[in-house]
């Protein structure tokens, strides 16, 4: 019999219902695997084994009752062990955001997305590593150490949801929540060979998510395949009265079809996403995957997103500007440590200077500058105008096609330390994922090959607003006829 941790989320939920396995067995198998692999992977910042086991026992009790009398409806994830990125609040469990400025913060309430998973019966294994306040593309900006890519421990898992991606890839969790402000679900999913969804802006409540860039932040899902991601996404999506930016639109039917045809689906390939300097093996694998889509009946045509190259400067003005405002709340007064000082001014300056890491300081500085008197119009104002042009690019492309297919990243996972101290080089990591955030459209990354070193290559699909169903169905169709998503790192 295969290891319990090899089951997908979808299969595990069924096995639990049938009584083939208990949640305690499954949860223990994950906790054992975490204990074995965590020293080399470091996917987690906080582990909650005792809580996980008591949640598992509650689930087992409920499952046993249900097997006696099946008239009641079981919660969708009952007994399934999941992980949460450490920027999402879980009541009573530390939430650090990878930062020293929240090193002792215990949230007094849970995020809506987390609460919905709890209502669905999920077991929480712990909180996963992230770049500080989700600012980064490698988890190297975490104040608590880097996460290692399960495919090659000398490489980064991507970021900022690198802990969640590594945990799913290494079978240290069935699935995980992440967040995506500029690619922070899709880029690590791509580097770790898992399936990662960035939903439409507004689709999932952000209540209880620690804010970074409020016009960009989304809560997403990382899982082993499109089916598992759809299962979790369906539960967390939907309007929340506690988040005025969450949209009250009905969720389309998310039952993914076993039939693999993509007949008459119009798929656009944007030329701007195949740039000089990208790794040839990435382009090869993505073009091969497009060939698979064609063989499944999709109609493939070139499309253009002409302002793609401006997405990077626009994003790195808009996101830091919003971050500089959002992070003003960390000042040593209401939560986090305080550096004692004579005056209030010095408490603010001293606490922030001592407890924020270098990348957060850099972005707060950049954002403050872009919003400051005399520079607002030239930087922030101009960036928001160009953002309009990027949004129009997508509108025009989606007038012609149902789906856009592109690489998720220009190359596979890089070595820890390889981007050194050059912030701009790190910013360029997000070049293919930023446009979707600026336009608010959903994106999905999933593995479509490996490079010569055996590292996963990720493809990205994008659709018009609120068509996550098309995204997930297309990836599911691909995964029904290929096996890249089932490959495992040797650990």
């Amino acid at each position: 019999m295969a290891a319990l941790t090899d089951l997908t989320l979808t299969d595990a939920v069924h096995s639990l219902r049938r009584g083939d396995i208990s949640s305690r067995e499954l949860t223990s198998a994950y906790l054992d695997r975490i204990q074995r692999l965590e020293p080399s992977v470091h996917a987690f910042l906080t582990l909650t084994p005792d809580q996980a086991l008591s949640q598992a026992d509650l689930a087992d009790h409920r499952l046993a009752t249900w097997r006696q009398d099946r008239s009641s409806q079981l919660p969708a994830l009952l007994g399934a062990p999941l992980a949460l990125k450490d920027v999402l609040c879980l009541e009573g469990v530390p939430c650090t955001c990878g930062s020293r400025i929240l090193e002792n913060f215990i949230p007094p309430y849970s995020a809506t997305a987390v609460e919905r998973l709890a209502q669905a019966g999920a077991v929480f294994l712990g909180k996963t590593n992230t770049d500080e306040f989700a600012m980064g593309s490698s988890t190297e900006n975490s104040a608590y150490g880097v996460t290692h890519n399960p495919w090659d421990l000398e490489r980064v898992p991507g970021g900022s949801s690198g802990g969640s991606a590594a945990a799913v890839a290494a079978r240290m969790a069935l699935a995980a929540l992440g967040t995506d402000t500029g690619g922070s679900v899709r880029q690590p999913a791509s580097f770790c060979g898992v399936t990662g969804l960035k939903p439409t802006y507004g689709r999932v409540s952000r209540y209880g998510l620690v804010a970074f860039g409020s016009s960009l932040d989304t809560v997403g899902v990382l899982g082993r395949d499109a089916q598992d991601v759809a299962l979790v996404f369906r539960l967390i999506a939907g309007h929340d009265p506690c988040d005025a930016t969450s949209v009250s639109l009905p969720l389309p039917d998310m039952q993914l079809s076993e039939q693999t045809g993509l007949a008459s689906l119009r798929v656009g390939i944007p030329q701007e996403y195949f740039i000089p300097g990208m790794q040839p093996e990435v382009e090869f694998a993505v073009r091969e995957a497009v060939g698979v889509f064609e063989s499944l009946g999709a109609l493939v045509t070139p499309v253009s997103l002409p302002h793609t190259r401006y997405a990077l400067p626009v994003y790195y003005l808009v996101a830091p500007a919003e971050a500089s405002a959002n992070l003003a709340r960390y000042d040593g007064i209401r939560y986090g440590p305080r550096l004692p000082a004579e005056t209030l001014w010095d408490v603010y300056r001293g606490t922030r200077g001592a407890k924020f890491g270098p990348e957060v300081k850099r972005r707060v500085m950049l954002g403050t500058y872009a919003l400051s008197a005399g520079y607002y119009d030239a930087y922030y104002g101009q960036a928001q105008k160009v953002r309009t042009l990027i949004q129009r690019d997508f509108e025009q492309a989606f007038a012609q096609v149902d789906l856009i297919a592109a690489p998720a990243t220009p190359h596979t996972a890089f070595k820890i330390g390889a981007r050194g101290d050059d912030p701009l080089a790190m910013y360029l990591e997000d070049v293919f994922t930023l446009p979707a955030n600026l336009a608010g459209v959903p994106g999905l990354a999933f593995p479509v090959g490996q490079d010569s070193q055996g590292l996963p290559v990720g493809m990205q699909l994008m659709t018009p607003h609120f068509r996550e169903d098309v995204l997930l169905q297309a990836a599911h169709a691909y995964q029904c006829v290929t096996d890249w998503h089932t490959r495992l790192p040797a650990l």
Partner: protein, 96 residues
């Protein structure tokens, strides 16, 4: 586009950030390089283009009824405070 050390000091003061001399020198160089890269935005003609205000143009934010409902307790809100007294956050003197 090159920032001066005085500009770095000014931004740090606006951002309420204490920076060491090393950090100021480093950020001066790094932010200057980043802003130089961003200058390409200036070359784009955006006359007549309205600035984006949202990732979802055309969708309005639903508002909930303004009715009293249970919230977090004072004790739970103060539970993370580094210094509190008499149900309030305690801070150093604000006025001389």
């Amino acid at each position: 586009m090159s920032l001066t050390l005085e500009e770095v000091d000014h931004i740090a003061a606006l951002a309420r950030l204490h920076l060491t001399e090393e950090e100021k020198a480093l950020f001066r160089l790094q932010l200057s390089a980043i802003l130089e890269y961003f200058a390409q935005l200036q070359s784009l003609d955006t006359s007549g283009v309205l600035p984006a205000t949202s990732a979802l143009a055309g969708y309005t934010s639903p508002l909930r009824p303004d009715e009293p409902r249970p919230g977090l307790t004072t004790a739970s809100l103060l539970s993370n405070a580094p210094d509190s007294e008499a149900d309030q956050f305690r801070v150093p003197p604000v006025l001389e």
